[in-house]
């Protein structure tokens, strides 16, 4: 009788290592091939925390509603880590079927062939076209005449206010909403009034060590002058220095220790407002859930138009098609369908605070009843994105560079003109560098 497994120790070790090696290689094999009834689509995104929970609910919804495809999400850490991995996947031609990108990052990526463009006819068949998006949001997804991203939302920088405190200060109008202000002086007066009835500061605004926070407020107010910063590749930054200095000086006025704390970081500012100590908070709409969970009596509105032109600094989570070397047509079809399903189901996304980009959702009667979201929905018509260049956008170095240049002004009253000069110099250095996705400038 031979024993069932007649192997010497060596043979056994050889066999075991071969098996392990084969298993390892099998792990690298691509996913399910086309043809099986339910296709699994790979979807990468960078939403965690409250946004991540809402996104999973939406994905569960679209998965249950049909059986043609199943979404398999991969969540990666927000910012640089996410974009690095997505870029490498696209560069290797084995990217996920669909991914979320900030609309502001798309212009840097499109020229390098990291993204495939969307077919407008296929989208139109599914009821997704120019007429179903606010104009500035629709336009943002076009680079070099081609459509590279479809916005899920706009998430502007807004003003949240504590209705109890503002009411006590007499700053609410008959609808119970914050009285409109239309100049820096009016807004400062309003803030001083609110400060009188708040336990803490009138306004919470966290900026320390957070270039994005400084940039969001600055660029929104700068754009209210009816201006935009121009970043032409290989040339010099186009900026109205007087307007920039005026805006920065106004921001410093807010941080006088009375209206708002002179030194606050993002987390502390959110906490100050969420615990009902301050009257107002300048923040992104993504903090809405935080305030609702804190059971705070609050409402939200666009940042008041202080310099004439309504403008809301924002970015958009957008669907993109990372480049696939061998895209499967059937899977692409399903990807289009998935994006259309998500847009149509984006009412749930509004609950996380974001303004859905798909107009049939925001124009629905249900949305008008969704408060406070409906009170800042007009921001979608006035969104202002980062100026276009390969190095700008959410999670890029550009906003950090801005923060490094101007923090001294906000923190210790350095000269705003010198800070803007420093920012211009640094950005001009970046403008002189080639777009790494297209170093020879061959694209277009």
């Amino acid at each position: 009788m031979t024993p069932p497994l007649d192997l010497s120790r060596r043979q056994f070790l050889t066999a075991a290592s071969l098996t392990a090696g084969a298993a390892l290689l099998a792990g690298c094999a691509p996913g399910t091939a086309s043809g099986s009834p339910t296709q699994t689509l790979q979807f990468w995104h960078l939403l965690s925390g409250g946004d991540g929970v809402t996104m999973s609910q939406l994905l569960d919804g679209v998965n249950k509603a049909q059986s043609a495809y199943r979404i398999r999400p991969t969540v990666l850490a927000w910012g640089t880590p996410y974009y690095t991995k997505l870029a490498m996947a696209g560069a290797g031609g084995r990217a996920p079927d669909v991914a979320i990108m900030h609309a502001t990052r798309v212009p840097g990526w499109a020229p390098g062939g990291l993204l495939d463009d969307w077919d407008l006819d296929r989208l139109a068949e599914l009821g997704v076209d120019e007429s179903t998006f606010p104009e500035p949001i629709w336009k943002k997804g076009i680079v070099g005449g081609k459509r590279f991203s479809i916005a899920l939302d706009a998430h502007p920088f807004v003003l949240m206010y504590n209705t109890d405190i503002c009411d006590a200060a007499g700053e609410l109008d008959s609808d119970g909403q914050l009285k409109k202000t239309s100049s820096p002086e009016e807004f400062l007066d309003q803030l001083r009034a609110v400060g009188g009835s708040a336990k803490g500061h009138a306004l919470s605004y966290g900026y320390l060590g957070d270039g994005a926070q400084m940039w969001r407020l600055f660029y929104g107010l700068y754009a209210q002058h009816g201006l935009a910063i121009e970043l032409p590749a290989g040339r010099q930054m186009g900026i109205d220095k007087d307007a920039a200095v005026e805006t920065l000086a106004f921001m410093k006025t807010l941080l006088d220790g009375e209206i708002a704390a002179a030194q606050n970081d993002y987390g502390t500012a959110v906490a100050e407002f969420a615990t009902g100590k301050s009257g107002m908070l300048m923040t992104g709409v993504w903090e809405l859930r935080t305030m609702q969970n804190a059971k705070l009596p609050f409402d939200a509105t666009m940042i008041p138009t202080l310099y004439g032109t309504p403008a809301a600094y924002a970015d958009s989570h957008s669907f993109v098609l990372p480049h696939q070397a061998h895209a499967d047509e059937h899977r692409r079809d399903l990807t289009y369908r998935f994006v259309s399903d998500m847009l149509k189901g984006s009412f749930g996304w509004a609950e996380a605070g974001h303004i859905p980009a798909y107009l049939p959702v925001t124009e629905s009667p249900d949305y008008a009843k969704l408060l406070p979201q409906a009170h800042y929905a007009d921001a979608a018509q006035h969104v202002v994105y980062d100026p276009e260049a390969w190095f700008t956008g959410s999670g890029s170095n550009f906003q950090g560079e801005f923060g490094a240049a101007v923090q001294g002004v906000l923190l210790s009253g350095d000269d705003p003109g010198a800070a803007i000069d420093r920012f211009i110099r640094r950005v001009n250095t970046l403008l002189a560098q080639p777009n790494p996705a297209d170093p020879e400038g061959k694209w277009k």
């Binding site: 640089t80 690095t84 390098g112 320390l208 270039g211 970081d265 502390t268 490094a404």
Partner: protein
């Protein structure tokens, strides 16, 4: 003698440096030893030698992380790096951090080790609590110190206020942020040097102290004349390890400042990371790496010269 050897060579048919060993098993032994070395050698070649060579090649191209580029551009990246003020500032920041952190990390660990070795009761408790922070991940210590340095509610400012001093924006003010990172780093890693010093002190034979006290030497005298001189080799080791560790400055600074590009704290490693992984310029990033590499070689050679002189003396 020569005859024996040559006879032997004729008999076995091969020349051998060790004529008394049979040929077969020796060859086999060599094979076995290479087989045992293979896992390390493969990993070494794959993850160290190859990246170093490939990195040198990359530094002469305009390769991008996005897959674009890749053409040879000669010394353009090096020329750009050497004329890039941000590169020089980052390099200086790294050197400055190394100077600021190495001195307290060596001096404090020596004092702590001396106290624990000679004076304080409950040795195990001190040993444990001095070493414990070293066991924490850099992410954890970064979070702890971000809270301690919080300008509104942080412990550091509470202490300042209790002393009647003005609160500081520790991590945000460009005048104090490097110092804050040094403080956090010292707290984090001093335990390792402390342990090395403590081990070295406990290796000093107790008879020497006994003899010294019989000769009437007090604690200070003993420390200066017995302990310190015998810590020489340990100090050299600690210094080398510490300088190399400090030059690697990246994770705690990056995490504590939330990735803000602060001109006063951006280390050269962070600039390499930003160039390669945020701005996707692999070629440029590789070129900066080799500029940094040159600095490390200079330090290495200087340190080798110093230790050789010590040995000669």
């Amino acid at each position: 003698m020569t005859t024996t050897a040559s006879t032997r060579a004729v008999v076995t048919g091969r020349k051998s440096s060790d004529p008394f060993r049979p040929a077969g098993p020796r060859r086999r032994e060599q094979l076995v030893s290479w087989a045992f070395l293979a896992p390390f050698l493969i990993a070494f070649a794959l993850f160290l030698v190859w990246p170093i060579l490939h990195g040198i090649y990359l530094s002469f191209t305009d390769q991008s992380l996005t897959g674009a580029g890749g053409d040879l551009v000669g010394f353009a990246n090096y020329a750009e790096a050497l004329s890039d003020p941000v590169m020089w500032q980052s390099l200086w920041n790294t050197v400055w951090f190394t100077l600021l952190s190495t001195v307290p990390l060596v001096a404090l660990s020596l004092i702590m080790a001396a106290l624990v070795d000679r004076g304080l009761p409950g040795q195990w408790l001190w040993r444990l609590s001095f070493f414990m922070p070293y066991l924490l991940a850099s992410t954890v210590i970064s979070q702890i110190w971000v809270w301690i340095f919080n300008p509104q509610i942080g412990a550091a400012n509470n202490i300042l206020k209790a002393l009647g001093l003005q609160p500081l924006a520790w991590l945000q003010n460009p005048d104090t942020n490097m110092l804050s990172i040094v403080i956090a780093t010292v707290w984090w890693t001093v335990g390792f040097n402390f342990l090395l010093y403590l081990a070295a002190m406990q290796n000093i034979p107790p008879q020497q102290y006994e003899a010294a006290s019989l000769d009437g030497a007090g604690a200070w005298r003993q420390f200066w004349s017995i302990t310190l001189p015998q810590l020489g080799p340990a100090t050299v080791l600690i210094l080398i390890l510490q300088i190399l560790a400090s030059l690697k400055l990246f994770d705690q600074a990056y995490q504590m400042l939330g990735g803000v590009a602060s001109d006063t704290t951006r280390s050269i490693v962070q600039y390499i990371f930003e160039s390669g992984f945020v701005n996707y310029r692999f070629g440029y990033s590789a070129a900066i790496s080799y500029v940094f590499f040159a600095l490390i070689i200079i330090i290495g050679v200087a340190q080798a010269l110093v230790t050789r002189r010590r040995k000669v003396q």
